[in-house]
Symmetry: C2
Subunit: 413 residues, 2 copies
C-alpha cells in the first residue's frame, strides 16, 4: 500500500494502470440469485450449468428419406440397385411404432425418431419408387449415416453453460433445449454513482446561472454500468463539503457493491474526496494518481471491502478512466471471468501523437476509410468523446506513435 | 421478383446473401416515440438532436490559478517577474462578482467562471506569493490560455446526437450537459417469433416423449432481437398445419414490424411456411433459398410491407441466418443507419476449410491463442454454436480457405 502525501498542494503517488488493475482487489463480490432463463441474457452463471438429460434424447434423422438397415444397402449401385419393402412412415414428434426388419424401409422426415432396428437413413434423392410399396436404392449407406445420435448434441451431465461467461443468445437456446427454466446467476453489481461539486446541478435544470454546469457524468456512467451488466444507483449531487460527501459515501458503501465518485474539478474538491474516504471505517486508499492521460487524478480505495473509485473532475477524463479501470473492477465484483470482447479495428494513424514514457495515453479518434484521426482538445470537452468513433491506447513504454503507424482502435458502442 | 417453383419436392430459387440484402426492402419502419434521456441507451434518435444553448455556457478556467489580463504578464520571467495585486477569489458555481483591472489578479479554481475583463488564467504552479495580497509571476500567458470558451464544447444549434446511430453512454452524457431531458427515438421493432413443427414442445416441458424436442430457437432468437434493440413478441409453437400457421402468421403480421418463422425441419414443414405466406393478402415472396451454408432453405417475403423471414428448421442454421439477414432487416425497420460494430479479431486458420464457389459459408470457430479452429458437425447441433467463440465467413467467390490463412473472426457476445 502506498500512502499519498498531501501537503498544501496535492501530490500524487502515481501508479501504472496495469499495476493498479493487478493490485487493486477489494474483497467484495455479489451474491447469487435465480432468474428465469429468458431473462438471463448477459447474466453471469454462478456455476457451470450441466444438462440432466442427453440431447436430442433420441436418435433422429438428419435428412428426408428412408430408415433402413445399412447392411441391406451394401453393394447397391446404378447397375445393381437394392430393393426394399416400404412398410410405413414415421410421423414428426412421436415415437416410431414399427420395426425395420431385413429388406424393409420406413419413410422418415428430417428430425423424426429413428424406428427400431434401423441403423441408417438413405436420402430421398438416392431412391425411387418401383411400385407403391417398393423403393429402389442406387447407393449404399453406412451404419449411422443420416442419423444424429441420442446424445450427440449434449451428453448427460455435460456442461451447457460455463460459470463466469455472460450468457449469449445461443446459450439461452441450448438451456431451453435442455429444459432449464431458471438459472443461478451472480447478482448484478450495484454501482453507487456520486457526483460532487458546488458548480454541478441536475441535468433537468433548464436555466443555468453563470458558473453552473449540468451533471453529465452521472448519466454517462450509469449507461456504462448498464452496458457492463451492472445496476446503477444514482446517489445525487453533493456540494464541495467533506461532511456531506462523507455522509453520502458512507450510505453508498453500505448499499452498493462498488462506489464511483466523480470529483469536483478543482484540487480542493479532489482533496475532499480523499478526506471523505479516509474518514470512513475500514477504509484504505490503494493509490491516488494513475499514470494515464487523461485521468491522472484518480483515487482507488476500499471501504469494508467495497471498492471506491474517485474519478477525475471532468466528464471526458472520468469516462475514460471508468472504461479503463472501473469496468474491470465491476466485472470482478460481478463474477465475470470471460468478459465479452469490445469491437476493435485496425487503422492507420493520420498524424503523429506524442506521449510520455511510463504513462498510458488514451487518444480519442475518428476513423474514416481505415484512417484514424486523433481528436485533440481540452480534455473536459465531452463533445470530443461524442465525436469519437473509438480510442487508441498508447502503452506506457512508448514515447508516442508516428504518423502512419498501424493502431488498434477500440470502437465505442 | 423471382417466383420459386414448387413441384412435389421443393426447388429453391437460390439468391446470394448480398443480392438478397440489397434487394429485400419491405416498406415497414417503426414510428417515433419520446423516452426519458436516461432510458435512452441504445435507442435510435429519429432526427438529429441539436443543442438549444452553448456549452459550457460561460468561459471557464481549465486550471487552478489566477485570472489575469494577459498583457500584464508579457515579458515576465524568472529574472524579471511580474507582480499583480490579488483582489479576490472566484467560487465554484457562481458568477465572479469582481472585475480584473490592470495589474490585478483573481484566484480561480478549475472550472470556475472567468471574471470580467480577465482574458487568461495563469497556473498556480507558475506563481508565488510575495505578500498576502501580491503574487509573483515568472512566465507570461497568452490571451485565452487557461480558458475554455463559452461555446467551445457545443455551439448553439450544434448537433449533439445524430439520427440513426444508437445512443452511446457519452451521447447521454452530452445530452444531459445540454439539458435534454427527453429524446425522440424510433420505436423498437416488434419482432414476432413463430416456431413451427409437430415435434416442437415448450422449453418448460420437463419430460419429453420420444420424437419431441424443446423449442430452443425461440429463446435464442428473442435474445438476439433484444441485443439488436428490438422487442421480441413470442407467438408460440404452431403444429405442421397450414391453416394454423396462416392464422398465427396473419395475426403476427398485424401486430409486429417483422415476423420470423422457424420452420419445422422437414421439407413438408417448409412447404407449409411458403403456403401460409402465399395465402395472406398483400403477400409476396422475394426469394426462397439463399446461397449460404448453413441456411439454404431461407424464405424472404413481405406481407403488407412487413418483412417475413422463414428460417431453416434447425436451431443452428436458423440463428446463423438470423444474424446474417434478420438483424440487417431489423435495423432497417428500426431506423438504425449506423449500426454498432461487432467485435472481431484476426486469427490463423488451423486447418483447410472447403466451400463451394457462389455460396457464402459461415464456419463456427473456437479461437485459442490466435488460432481459429473450425468446429464441424451436423448443422442441427446447437452445442456447436455454444462451443464457438465466433464465426468466419467464406465469401461467395472462394472455393475454400487454406490452412494458415489469416481470417477475420466475428466474436459472439
Amino acid at each position: 500500500m502506498r500512502t499519498p502525501r498531501l501537503a498544501g498542494k496535492e501530490f500524487f503517488t502515481t501508479m501504472s494502470v496495469s499495476e493498479a488493475l493487478a493490485g487493486f482487489q477489494p474483497g467484495r463480490s455479489t451474491g447469487i440469485e435465480t432468474v428465469p432463463r429468458d431473462d438471463a441474457l448477459g447474466r453471469v452463471p454462478a456455476s457451470a450449468v450441466v444438462s440432466r438429460a442427453a440431447l436430442p434424447g433420441f436418435a433422429r434423422s438428419t435428412v428426408d428419406g428412408y430408415a433402413v438397415r445399412a447392411s441391406d444397402t451394401y453393394g447397391a449401385s446404378d447397375g445393381l440397385p437394392a430393393y426394399l419393402d416400404l412398410i410405413g412412415a414415421v410421423r414428426m414428434g412421436v415415437a416410431a411404432d414399427m420395426t425395420v426388419r431385413p429388406a424393409t424401409a420406413v419413410q422418415i422426415p428430417t428430425g423424426a425418431a429413428i424406428p427400431s432396428d434401423a441403423d441408417a437413413v438413405v436420402m430421398v434423392e438416392f431412391t425411387q419408387f418401383t411400385s407403391s410399396d417398393v423403393i429402389e436404392l442406387t447407393r449404399p449407406v453406412a451404419v449411422g449415416e443420416g442419423i444424429v445420435r441420442a446424445d450427440e448434441d449434449v451428453a448427460v451431465g455435460a456442461e451447457i453453460a460455463p460459470a463466469g461467461r455472460p450468457l449469449r443468445p445461443q446459450d439461452l437456446g441450448l438451456l431451453a433445449a435442455a429444459g432449464v427454466t431458471d438459472v443461478e446467476v451472480r447478482a448484478r453489481p450495484r454501482v453507487g454513482i456520486i457526483s460532487t461539486g458546488d458548480e454541478v446541478v441536475p441535468p433537468s435544470t433548464q436555466e443555468l446561472a453563470v458558473g453552473q454546469v449540468r451533471d453529465a457524468t452521472a448519466s454517462a456512467l450509469a449507461a456504462l454500468v448498464v452496458q457492463a451488466g451492472g445496476e446503477p444507483s444514482r446517489r445525487g449531487i453533493v456540494p464541495d463539503d467533506v461532511d456531506a460527501l462523507t455522509q453520502t459515501l458512507a450510505t453508498a458503501v453500505q448499499d452498493c457493491d462498488l462506489v464511483v465518485i466523480s470529483a469536483g474539478s478543482s484540487v480542493g474538491a479532489r482533496d475532499e474526496t480523499t478526506a471523505a474516504v479516509r474518514s470512513l471505517d475500514e477504509a484504505s486508499i490503494f493509490c491516488h494518481g494513475l499514470a494515464v492521460k487523461p485521468g491522472k487524478p484518480t483515487l482507488l480505495a476500499e471501504c469494508s471491502g467495497v471498492p471506491v473509485i474517485g474519478l477525475p473532475g471532468n466528464p471526458l477524463s472520468a469516462l475514460v478512466v471508468f472504461r479503463l479501470v472501473g469496468l474491470t473492477v465491476l466485472r470482478r465484483v460481478g463474477g465475470i471471468t470471460v468478459p465479452p470482447r469490445e469491437p476493435t479495428m485496425t487503422a492507420t494513424l493520420s498524424r503523429a501523437v506524442a506521449s510520455a514514457a511510463g504513462r498510458l495515453d488514451v487518444v480519442q479518434v475518428q476513423v474514416r476509410e481505415g484512417v484514424a484521426v486523433p481528436l485533440f482538445g481540452f480534455s473536459a470537452l465531452l463533445s470530443l468523446l461524442t465525436a469519437a468513433d473509438g480510442y487508441v491506447v498508447i502503452p506506457e513504454p512508448a514515447t508516442g506513435l508516428d504518423e502512419g503507424t498501424t493502431v488498434a482502435v477500440t470502437l465505442y458502442r
